[in-house]
Subunit: 136 residues, 6 copies
């Protein structure tokens, strides 16, 4: 019996969408107001879902306290109250679009989840815009 | 790396559930209070999700501004503050159940999304009732 | 010790904003797309709040089951799945703006609440637009 | 055209996470504060989703009023305002983790849905923790 | 310039509504299914609001981190994952209705807020039922 | 009959909490992680409420489309996708705490609302932290 367990979390961060190898004008044409050189920011909401068999001993797929701790250590401690472009090494040369952020988050959490389980991450950039990555 | 990008939107509309080729009594038996000949209405909430590869140039699967514009042009401008039965040609002879509405919306948006991408539409008729269509 | 107890409820209805004694053009200028002669509609959300002393016998200001029944009898049964302009007598000659609807609802519930208690009604027409009436 | 129709519902219940065949200390080590022998509780929120073909007669996959009645009879009447461990027979010897609860709910609703339809149940234990079961 | 700062928090607890000095039948007549002797439970949501002058030094009415710590120490640590009737001394002889709980919470937080500030507490027992206390 | 009409809006911005006339250490002691020199950010949610008499001609206290336009012109166009400290003149020498932001917003909207009406502004910095200002 495969069940999916999901945990919500959140972090608040600044970012700017742009490529260092493009001119300001080209960045402006593609990324518009998201290219503000002084940055803007979001309350990012995260839903991390792990799918696996129920352990008949505990009735858990995975202790959600353990999952919450992984999210806190891997994501919240590194992303919360940060400037994604300047403070988070993964985005030193990677444009922090929601799509790129969700893949980075998925990879960081995937490394901490046992391989018999599947992982999906949903990232809300605003209440109306969100992205989903399942690893393929 | 396939990522899904999602955008929420909404429109407010009146509708009546009934078939013109049934008697009032049969419509009442099947559709109950939704068959009110004077119509009732809803704040419809929409989640449009597009799945595709991340463009390595931009870091986008698709510019969410472009997706918002498609939803505005194809759906909001045609459905918002309308009577679905009377003002929207697709429902002239099609009962505007949530299921039929979501298929109509999917078809209208599908025509504007490039064929290498997958599309899913979720339509909330009320906060407690919603439907989902993926195109098959 | 005065405490406020609040109960949420909802109804789905069609309406049209217009005055019968104005021309279509004047109604269109003032009410815009809300003047659609074929009606549009909303999921109205309601928050009814009653303020009074805690009854030391029961620990209740008022049994919320009783309040829910008043809302059901006075409002939901009369407004839900209706056309406000055509099916609800109070709006036969009263423009069903959110402001007018909330006053009508307040008056109907006020008649069923004992006079030692205060009443406030909040009415959401959409998730982003709402009105509040306290009776004065 | 396969569409998914979804209905939200909820019940309020007390529970305790523990195994009768473990010592209190072992239960405390594994389940922590959820092992409180005096119980704690939750407002469980439920999303029941049924996938099937749209009936061309009615425009429904399934009458959501019928689905709501199934949820009320099978789940709400038996789980709401109950102690899951003491009042619900299925948990007499089964630890009422969210994972085990969602499987029990899925089985009870599955028995009432025709076999040509697929079923998914999502159970929120808190606004931040939820589980999903699709039957395999 | 008086501003109100508000902080949301939550706790999960079991409770039973009844008076020890009433018969089971009388409790059942007044409190219905809330009188289940085996308890039921809720995810209680809390909004604590403090009104006062903005400190021109800091721009804060009150550090929301300090307010969050007061809520954690005074309420969450004592109410979360508890049986309110059995584990929380204030309810040993006080019926834990939402009204009585919100007054108890208000008194506990009031003792930790400086007297130049006003306090309001909102307590959600379910998403549809909530109570508010301002101290008079 | 005085009714309150309310409109929700939102903007996404970066900010840093600090005083230019304090050392980094003192700012860090008071503002903690909010003092990140590279900024962080939020999805700010706004509820603007205007209280006044219902105009018997229109049934409106105020056209919510007009109120939405005021919010867009005065707030969204100036704050959205900005760095509050660097891009918004009001915060050049004013610490952009939620309390100071809500007062600035209230003053900007107050100037556009006729004096017979009352104004209240609620500003959510995160889903769990918000502030309210009524002008006194």
């Amino acid at each position: 019996m495969k069940v999916t367990v999901s945990r919500k979390a959140h972090f608040n961060a600044a970012h700017r969408l742009y490529r260092k190898d493009w001119t300001f004008e080209k960045n402006q044409a593609v990324f518009g107001k998201c290219n503000n050189p002084n940055y803007h920011g979001h309350n990012y909401e995260l839903i991390v879902s792990v799918t696996g068999e129920i352990d008949p001993e505990t009735g858990y797929v995975m202790d959600l306290g353990d999952l919450a701790a992984i999210i806190r250590n891997e994501i919240e401690d590194k992303f919360d109250h940060k400037n994604l472009n300047m403070d988070v090494p993964e985005f030193a040369d990677l444009n922090p679009t929601a799509e790129n952020i969700v893949v980075v988050i998925w990879n960081k959490i995937r490394a901490k989840i046992t391989s018999d389980k599947e992982l999906e991450v949903v990232l809300y950039e605003t209440p109306r815009n969100f992205v989903t990555y399942k690893g393929s």
